[in-house]
């Protein structure tokens, strides 16, 4: 219906010119622009990397943890990554100011790092990803979430299984 309103306004007021670049340009709230990544809530499932049709996302295990890189110069702003991300840690902002000089070409990257941590239960090394708790029933409380986040994958599994048995009983 929005276009009918626009149409009516254009009939009434005639065409107009935006002041851009001398003033900000109007941008739709849902505009699909530059990718943003939040390492705090990322589960590390790498779905985004898999579904990206342009191969813009690369996640890699390094000595410090798991790195996330999205190169804006090859992203086609399809929104596939955001759609499939279970935690919405990756999302498209309405920012479209991406024009840049050639020397900055390889700096147009969104970078993130999920660091390694030491498990608070058994002391072994694991990635500090957010727990994959989408299917937990009843849902994890904030404290439980923080506790599970501080565990290694093995201890997480143990904790979740114990919780499930307790919930059933």
């Amino acid at each position: 219906m929005n276009f009918l309103r626009l149409f009516a306004r254009n009939l009434r007021e005639g065409p107009y010119t935006e002041a851009f670049p001398f003033a900000p340009a109007p941008t739709a709230k849902r505009f699909r622009g530059k990718i943003e990544f939040d390492a705090e809530t990322c589960e590390g499932c790498r779905l985004c990397e898999r579904v990206c049709p342009a191969g813009a996302i690369k996640m890699e295990r390094t000595a410090e943890g798991m790195t996330f890189d999205c190169w804006h110069d090859t992203c086609v702003f399809c929104g596939n990554c955001e759609f499939h991300c279970p935690t919405k840690s990756i999302h498209q902002t309405a920012d479209w100011h991406l024009a840049h000089r050639q020397e900055d070409k390889y700096r147009m990257v969104e970078h993130g790092l999920i660091p390694f941590q030491v498990c608070t239960e058994c002391g072994s090394k694991g990635l500090a990803t957010a727990p994959a708790a989408g299917s937990a029933n009843p849902p994890l409380t904030a404290e439980e979430f923080q506790h599970v986040k501080s565990l290694c994958p093995k201890c997480r599994g143990k904790f979740m299984r114990a919780r499930k048995t307790k919930a059933k009983a």
Partner: protein, 145 residues
């Protein structure tokens, strides 16, 4: 002020733009045409004008991932444009290959063949983003002239 200098000041006010379609899907071309043809965006406010002949151009916008078949033609047209010129890559295709990256049929990124100055990513970039890129190109062109 000498005649040459006066001519230069005059010329920097109105760069002419030429478009090369190097195998683009037409998305970027439509947006580039939109910049000039639709009063809402009106790139001609910046003193720019699209021209029909490469020999009159100052700024060249290249779209598309540079398919193998158009390489020769594109290089030939590019050489027709007099120096100094500023090259703008419009869309992710010319910058990295975008959705066609690593295809056997395309030669992207085009900076292997053309001296690119400004990149405008997007698939396609919105008209305002292209205008932003052109504004940067005009700046570079003023430095060069």
């Amino acid at each position: 002020m000498s005649v040459i200098e006066r001519l230069k000041t005059m010329a920097t006010k109105s760069p002419w733009i030429y478009r090369i379609n190097a195998g683009s899907c037409n998305g970027c071309d439509v947006e580039m045409a939109t910049c000039a043809l639709i009063p809402r965006y009106d790139v001609e406010r910046l003193g720019c004008q699209y021209c029909g002949s490469p020999r009159h151009a100052d700024i060249v916008l290249i779209s598309g991932p540079l398919t193998r078949r158009v390489l020769d033609a594109t290089l030939r047209v590019f050489d027709e444009i007099p120096d100094p010129k500023v090259t703008v890559a419009v869309g992710v295709c010319p910058i990295s290959g975008g959705i066609f990256r690593e295809s056997y049929a395309v030669l992207a990124p085009i900076d292997q063949y053309f001296p690119v100055d400004v990149n405008v990513p997007g698939c396609p970039p919105r008209p305002q983003a292209i205008i932003e890129g052109i504004a940067q190109a005009v700046q570079i062109w003023r430095e060069r002239l």
